[in-house]
Symmetry: C2
Subunit: 166 residues, 2 copies
C-alpha cells in the first residue's frame, strides 16, 4: 500500500512560489475537473449518455418553449458550431427536435421531445443526488458563503473581460 498516497492534480507543486490568485485559480480548476470527470463517468455508466448531451438537455429542460441555437450556445458557454453537432446527435437519437422559427428563417428552435424530457428527468434526479453528495462535507452556511464568494468572483471576472489586453 502506498503510504503517503496524495492524489495528484492541477495544484501539485504550485504551493509557495505563486501568487494567491493563481493558486485560487488552480484550486477552482481542480474542483471543477474532479466533479466534471466524476459526473461524466457516472452518466456514462448509469445512462450511457455523454456529459455534453446531458448539459444541452438540461438547458432545454429549463426552457419549455425551446431555445434557439444561439441561446443554447451562450448558456452552455461554447461555440455555435459545437452546439450544432451535439444537437444533431440528440435529434438523431430522438431526444430533441429542431424546428424553424415561424418569424425568422435564419433561426432554429430546439426543444426536448417527450421521450427526451422523460429521459432527462430520470437522469437529472440521480445527477442532483450526486452533486448534493459531492458537497456533503460543507455545512449549509459554508455552501451559502461559497456561493456568495463565487458570485463575487464571477462579477470580478466579468468586469475584467474587456480590459487588460496589453
Amino acid at each position: 500500500m502506498d503510504e503517503g498516497a496524495v492524489p495528484l492534480d492541477y495544484e501539485t507543486a504550485a504551493s509557495g512560489t505563486h501568487e494567491p490568485e493563481l493558486r485560487l485559480w488552480l484550486r477552482l480548476l481542480t474542483c471543477t475537473l474532479m466533479i466534471e470527470n466524476e459526473v461524466r463517468s457516472r452518466l456514462r455508466e448509469a445512462f450511457d449518455v455523454t456529459l455534453p448531451r446531458f448539459d444541452l438537455m438540461a438547458q432545454l429542460d429549463k426552457a419549455p418553449d425551446g431555445l434557439t441555437m444561439g441561446e443554447l450556445s451562450r448558456r452552455l458557454m461554447v461555440s455555435n458550431g459545437n452546439v450544432t453537432g451535439i444537437a444533431d446527435r440528440l435529434v438523431a437519437e430522438g431526444l430533441v427536435a429542431r424546428e424553424p422559427s415561424p418569424t425568422d428563417r435564419r433561426t432554429a428552435f430546439v426543444r426536448l421531445t417527450p421521450e427526451g424530457r422523460k429521459a432527462f428527468r430520470a437522469m437529472a434526479r440521480r445527477h442532483e443526488a450526486w452533486i448534493a453528495d459531492f458537497f456533503e462535507g460543507l455545512s449549509a452556511d459554508e455552501t451559502r458563503e461559497l456561493m456568495r464568494l463565487l458570485g463575487k468572483a464571477k462579477q470580478s471576472v466579468r468586469g475584467s473581460m474587456g480590459r487588460e489586453r496589453r
Copy 2:
C-alpha cells in the same frame, strides 16, 4: 441597445427550483468556464498557443527533472492517451523532449527543452497577471476564504468518489 443585457451562462434559469448544491455546482462551472475561455482566447491571441499545451508546459515547468507520462496525466487530470497527443505536438515544435527512463523501459520521461522553458516563462508572466486581474474584485481576505472553502469542497468531493454508486 439591449436594455437589461444580462449575460447568459450555465446558471441561467436555475434559480428557484433547484437544490443549493446544484446551484453551487453551476456557479463553480460558470466561473471556471469564463476564466478558461478567456485564458484560451488570450493565449491564442498573444502567443498562438493552445490552452492544453500551455497547461502541459506549466506542469513541466514545476518539475525541473521532468515527469513521466503517467504523472502528467494525473496532474492534468486527463486521460493517458490525451497526454500522448499533446506531448507529441509539443515535441514536434521543439518545446518539449521525450526520453526513456534508464531504469524502466516502459516509462517515458518528458521535460521542457531550453527553448520550451524560455517560451513558457514568457507566457506564464502574462498569464499570472491575467489571473490576478480576474480576481481583482476580491479582497485578500475574500481570496483566502474562497481558497479555504474550495479546499473543503475538494476534500468533500474526494471523499464521495467511491461511494454513491447505487
